[in-house]
Amino acid sequence: MATYDKNAVAFVRSEMVGESAAPAGEVGVTGWVRKNLFSSIPNSILTIFGIYIAYLGISTIANFAFIHAVWSGESGAACQPPDAGEGACWPFISAYFKQFVYGRFTISERWRVDLVYLVGALGLIWLVYERSPKRSLAALLMLTAFPIFSLILLTGGNFDYSGPFLLTCVILTAVILGAAFVIPTLTKSNPVPTVIAVAVILLIIAFILFLCSVDFGLIEVETSLWGGLLMTLVIAVVGIVVSLPFGVVLALGRQSNMPIIRIICVVFIEFWRGVPLITVLFMASVMLPLFMPKGVQVDNLLRAMIGVAFFASAYMAEVVRGGLQALPKGQYEGAQALGLNYWKMMGLIILPQALKLVIPAIVSTFIGLFKDTTLVSIVGLFDLLGMVQSAGSDPKWTSPVSSHTAYLFLAVVFWVFCFSMSRYSIYMEKKLDTGHG
């Protein structure tokens, strides 16, 4: 038995020691800097290198855009060395600013462009702002009424449907109405609802055509006068408005179980996706006139729009297909079990869910489309980039920094548009992510 020594008992505290602060190197600014910038020797080297790169980038841009920049002047002489020439030539941009925004649009009619911009911006706010009422109505109006409104305001409306056009319309109407009556009769169902539905659609089209032919007293502005931001936005918006319905139809066709329709859709989609946009634009500008019957002239802007619309539809179709494939099979089966036919199943059950799923991807497609509109400057249209290029060759504003300044300005404009859209898309993605599925 061991002897028990009273003095050998270890000291045991009877009360807790107070909390001491964390080591100075682990918390606060120093801790953060140590952890994130200087955690090891290679990391420290990287940090110093990174700081150097950041310094280079920031100082170059700050020097060019602000410190050495010229802020006022009447011509390129103000930006010539030796007094200047190191920094941006901002008076060049302000002198050309209106041309960048409106192109060569008739000066007295520029309020029409402003109005279109304003209505578009308001509509967009209505559409994007979450607490605004009836956002689906906003979407509908932006996709239908707004394009027609802009078309009339920008071109001046007062279209002239003379000659064979009206006749063709009348014949087509008769044929379509006839088919709407005959087909249900043949299948021994009541033809009245079909005929009414078709007639309403035809009436809407007729109304739109009529609206475009009304003389609102607006002067006609030819599309050859359009340009700058206006043209960039017009091409991008037309691209997206046309490509959405076409893309949905193509995607449905690609997923269809009718072999011929599926093959046609696959070939169509893969063809446009496989070739560069610039060849599509060349094709539209040199081949489209050959496709038309003699005497039919296709406007230059319209050619580019058709090319862009086909191209965008193929990409949109793939986006929509992604949404269709992402839906669980049970949704299709459930809709069929309820006895819905194909169009009701797609329109009421599948497409609303699928399209909602791919909103972020649609926004990304739109960003790509928006950037791609710059390509029309290669086929001789004066979009924002084309306008900037032509401004750069103005002898009045010749200076070593004119083109640099114009490119910087343009880069900022595009960046603001694209970056805000991409942020919105990320935000939507987070919001739509329900955490399951």
Partner: protein
């Protein structure tokens, strides 16, 4: 029962043939085919009428006509007296060259930036983020214009230069480098190079087998590098140093107009090539970086924790555990970026880099053979897209997870 059966049959009989979904679907499809045929036929007849009115003969005969224009960058022989077909071939080679080099460099830069974005170093990851967000949101064409019309125009003029180690020179006429000159006996070096490749292939298989059977690792990478450098080098000296370098010639004396670099001596990268190459690589790298980041983030954190728990170092964890799994996520979107880069190289036409579209455009303007040229473009780009996706899909399948 009998009555019911009879009623059932009667019901079936009542369904008219056009209410049968199968028949209906065929009717729809036939209608679509009829409509498309009509569309194609009417377009075709319009084309025929329009071409006749403009008196342009269709057909591919123009390909053998003398082109009569010069091309600033050619990989194989071409002169003004060559044919249109030859010119288009030069254009295709230039497209393939820029696409090939662009894909390689964009991949390297993209992976670096993607990894930098995930770095624990705050400033490095922020710089990568800024790079990606800025470059991705500015149109490629604008970037090409920036490099060509703004950045490269600021270089020293024709009679001046900036040099690196006195071997690589840069001025407004392009980037000048020494070009290799192959003398007699160069083939020995070539064969030695091929032999060393074969040896490396054999060595890799041998090392893998050895590791699997005996658990002994062999330093494959260092050995391969040694073989790849040493064997051709030895062959080079044995053959009597047949490969030389031709340095670009810079004339500083004599008539002022003759000063500057002598044409055709050494290798020259044209400013058009440099601008397009820089813009394509920098633009595509931003997209690849995002793909790489997403791919690496898709690998579960537990994977690298488990690897660390097994005692693997950081490098091995990345090489053996994280990257192989991330690659499965990375490859499919990477394929479409490669396709995008190839298609985007057609923007060359904006700065007159003689690629397929630019040369084709010149031919189109000279001959008016719009349909043939556009068809040629479309077919070639579709073929390139097809080849790239077949190769990359094959690679993707070879690394895909094998399901049990």
């Amino acid at each position: 029962m009998a009555v019911q059966d009879a009623g059932h049959i009667e019901d079936q009989a009542k369904v008219a043939f056009f209410n049968d979904p199968k028949v209906r679907s065929w009717i729809y499809q036939l209608l679509l085919v009829a409509f498309l045929s009509w569309l194609i036929w009417s377009i075709w007849s319009n084309i025929a009428a329009n071409l006749e009115a403009q008196s342009i003969a269709t057909g591919w005969g123009f390909l053998s006509t003398t082109a009569g224009f010069s091309i600033i960058q050619k990989l194989v022989f071409y002169s003004e007296s060559s044919s249109y077909g030859r010119a288009l071939w030069i254009g295709l080679l230039n497209t393939l060259l820029i696409a090939f080099l662009g894909v390689i460099f964009a991949t390297i830069l993209g992976f670096l930036i993607g990894i930098a974005r995930l770095s624990s170093n705050w400033i490095v990851s922020k710089i990568a983020t800024v790079y990606i967000e800025v470059i991705r949101n500015i149109p490629l064409l604008l970037q090409i214009f920036f490099w060509y019309f703004a950045a490269l125009r600021a270089l020293p003029g024709k009679r001046d230069k900036i040099s690196l180690f006195d071997t690589i020179h840069l001025n407004i006429t392009g980037l000048k480098m020494p070009s290799p000159v192959f003398g007699d006996g160069s083939w020995i070096v070539g064969i030695a190079f091929l032999l060393s490749l074969a040896a490396i292939f054999y060595l890799r298989n041998w090392a893998r087998k050895k590791q699997q059977e005996e658990g002994v690792q062999f330093p494959v990478f260092k050995a391969s590098l040694g073989i790849l450098i040493l064997v051709p080098l030895v062959a080079f000296f044995i053959a009597g140093m047949p490969i030389g370098l031709e340095h670009p010639q810079f004339v500083t004396t004599g008539a002022v107009l003759r000063r500057g670099f002598t044409l055709g001596v050494g290798m020259n990268l044209t400013p058009e090539f440099i601008a397009l190459f820089l813009a394509l690589v920098i633009y595509t790298a931003a997209f690849i970086a995002e793909i790489v980041r997403a791919g690496i983030m898709a690998v579960d954190k537990g994977q690298s924790e488990a690897a660390h728990a097994l005692g693997l170092s950081n490098g091995f964890t990345l090489r053996l555990v994280v990257v192989p799994q991330a690659m499965r996520v990375i490859i499919p979107p990477l394929i479409s970026q490669y396709l995008n880069l190839t298609k985007n190289s057609s923007l060359a036409v904006a700065i007159a880099y003689p690629d397929l579209v630019a040369v084709g455009g010149t031919v189109l303007n000279q001959t008016g053979q719009a349909i043939e040229i556009v068809t040629l473009w479309m077919v070639i780009y579709l073929a390139i897209s097809l080849v790239i996706s077949v190769i990359m899909n094959w690679y993707n399948q070879s690394i895909a997870l094998v399901g049990r």
